[in-house]
């Protein structure tokens, strides 16, 4: 459990480092596109495509980092009326729902990556499976974090979120 928590912290540090790189790259690519058009009267044909795919990566890796921080908003209406036991049961149910969705991201994400294996991107001829892969990859990270939260709540160490 200790070890698992440390592995998760480590995965999250890696995710956040990637996010910093993606975020900076995205700002640079779009800024270069504007500068190119005005200063050199020429904008690269690949900038839009690259920026879009960076956005896809940022979305799913960022979602994993946000999940680790428990920053995804929910609507807490029931908790006020529930006792601690019921609240924990509810938290565990939510983790299981999350786990189900993340499992679909991994399993169907892998199938879909395979499904588009022959497709290439219009501007840069990148293989599309490389871009789509972020969904199952993020799914694995999300599922790891989810399992950690689940273990904690099952052991009764969870904060009553």
């Amino acid at each position: 459990m200790e070890l698992f928590a440390r592995v998760n912290a480590w995965i999250n540090r890696g995710t956040e480092a990637l996010l910093a790189i993606i975020g900076i790259a995205m700002a640079v690519v779009v800024a270069v596109q504007v500068a190119g058009r005005y200063l050199f009267n020429h904008s690269p044909f690949w900038s839009e495509e690259v920026a879009r795919y960076l956005l896809v990566w940022l979305t799913f890796l960022g979602a994993a980092a946000a999940y680790y921080r428990r920053a995804h908003p929910g609507i807490d209406v029931l908790s006020a009326w529930l006792g601690p036991r019921a609240r924990r049961a509810k938290a565990i149910a939510v983790h299981l729902v999350c786990l189900a969705l993340f499992a679909v991201m991994i399993w169907q994400g892998a199938i879909f990556s395979h499904f588009v294996r022959l497709q290439i991107s219009p501007a840069l001829s990148l293989p599309m499976w490389m871009v789509v892969m972020v969904i199952p990859v993020a799914g694995v990270i999300l599922a790891c974090h989810c399992l950690l939260f689940l273990c904690r709540d099952l052991r009764g160490m969870g904060d009553d979120r």
Partner: protein, 425 residues
């Protein structure tokens, strides 16, 4: 059958406090998997295509711009300038909170960021000057909600993404309604302050306005660049966001020297995570909206509403009511994706411009940010002030009432939104 599973699952998952994005995603998975009409791979295709958009790039870029400008120390300067401008009013600090939020709104696309940036300084300051803590939090929450009406605005970007409306025009259309809302909030807070005996900050001084104005010049330059760039046609909305990031870096790192280069990764991580929270909702909601489209839910709902009335004014009223109710319970981005297709199906009967409709939708959702259980501005304010949500809610009622009046004006008096759009054509 599919539609019923979708909506029932969604309701249950919302009730047990599932993260909104996951609730929408999981309900969509259930609606595809249980009847088994479509392959589950569709989920992945929609997750991907919901985020693969040049227009939506503006979401993280405006988040980065806001985070960087904030770290660059502009909030303080904007607040000093606002104090010189309106600090002499009764309840001067409350007015300062609203005006500072309006300034910050011109840089940030998010109401939560707006509330946090200004509130983290002004809520403690108001408390220290003897304002009731829950009143201070209520003023700041309502001021922050303007963040999405005054451009730039993440919800307007999403509305443009969903409907094909020009984001530049939506931004332009938001300016006057944003000013109207700001002024009316100042009026209410001054009235309450007079009754509570909260005093002015300092007498008005033109010299002080000039001094603080000069210090805030670079900070005020950001909205000028963003809006000026879009309106004059130099940049698209997405490009203006990238330019704002560069400008924020130049000001924060180069001029104010409040940001060190080693802080940059942290700022981009923080911005990426806030953006990803919105984007993940968009991704999951686009699975939902694909199912809705294939099951024709939006047109069925629109037809249902039309069966009740085809009076234009009543239809506009019911659109507002639907949006207000949705804004009360559902997060802003999710409400947009779930409802905008239905509302746009009504556009011919509503007889208004798509841009005008966009501003009405966004204003409704701004009000929704001030109502529990899902009121992001309330949550941010209460976490700064330390008050319970219920206490702030009581204080926010007069602000909500005036916002409803503003909403009625914005809805039924088109020139307010369309005037600037027309001038700029």
């Amino acid at each position: 059958m599919t539609a019923e599973i979708l909506l029932a699952t969604l309701l249950v998952l919302f009730l047990i406090d599932t993260p909104i994005a996951v609730a929408i995603g999981a309900a969509s998975v259930a609606a595809i998997a249980l009847p088994g009409d479509f392959p589950l791979q569709m989920v992945i295709q929609r997750l991907f295509s919901g985020t693969d958009s040049f227009h939506l790039l503006a979401v993280p870029l405006f988040m980065f711009a806001g985070t960087i400008m904030e770290a660059g120390g502009i909030s303080r300067r904007l607040i000093d300038f606002a104090t010189a401008l309106v600090g002499w009013l009764p309840g001067g600090m409350a007015a300062v909170a609203v005006v500072s939020a309006m300034f910050f709104a011109g840089i940030s696309g998010s109401a939560a960021a707006d509330t946090a940036a200004v509130g983290s300084i002004l809520i403690p300051a108001m408390k220290k000057s003897g304002y009731r803590s829950d009143f201070a939090a209520a003023v700041q929450a309502s001021g922050g909600s303007i963040g999405i009406v005054i451009p730039p605005s993440i919800p307007m970007i999403v509305f443009g993404f969903l409907t094909g409306a020009s984001v530049g025009r939506l931004f332009t259309a938001g300016i006057l309604p944003g000013l109207l809302i700001g002024l009316s909030l100042i009026a209410v807070s001054s009235l309450i302050s007079r009754r509570q005996g909260y005093g002015a900050q300092a007498p008005f001084s033109a010299a002080e306005v000039l001094r603080t104005g000069r210090r805030a010049l670079l900070a005020l330059g950001a909205p000028v660049i963003i809006l000026g760039g879009i309106l004059s046609g130099i940049f698209t909305a997405t490009e203006s966001a990238a330019v704002a990031v560069v400008y924020g870096l130049v000001v924060g790192v180069g001029v104010y020297r409040r940001i060190a280069l080693r802080d940059l990764p942290g700022l981009f991580i923080a911005g990426s995570i806030t953006a990803a929270i919105v984007m993940f909702i968009i991704a999951c909601a686009s699975v939902f909206s694909w199912i809705a489209a294939i099951e024709e839910i939006p047109s069925r709902m629109a037809a249902g509403l039309l069966a009740l009335t085809d009076n234009r004014l009543l239809l506009l009223l019911s659109v507002n009511l639907v949006l207000l109710i949705a804004g009360t319970f559902v997060e802003t981005t999710a409400a947009l994706i779930l409802l905008v297709p239905m509302i746009v199906a009504l556009l011919p009967e509503l007889g208004i411009d798509l841009i005008h409709l966009g501003v009405i939708v966004v204003t409704n959702l701004a009000i929704g940010m001030l109502t529990p259980p899902m009121g992001i501005c309330l949550v941010v304010s209460s976490s700064i002030s330390g008050d319970r949500l219920a206490a702030i809610c009581r204080r926010i009622v007069p602000f909500l009432l005036v916002l409803l009046v503003d909403l009625a004006i914005i809805t039924y008096w088109p020139p307010l939104t369309m005037l600037l759009v027309g001038v700029l054509r």
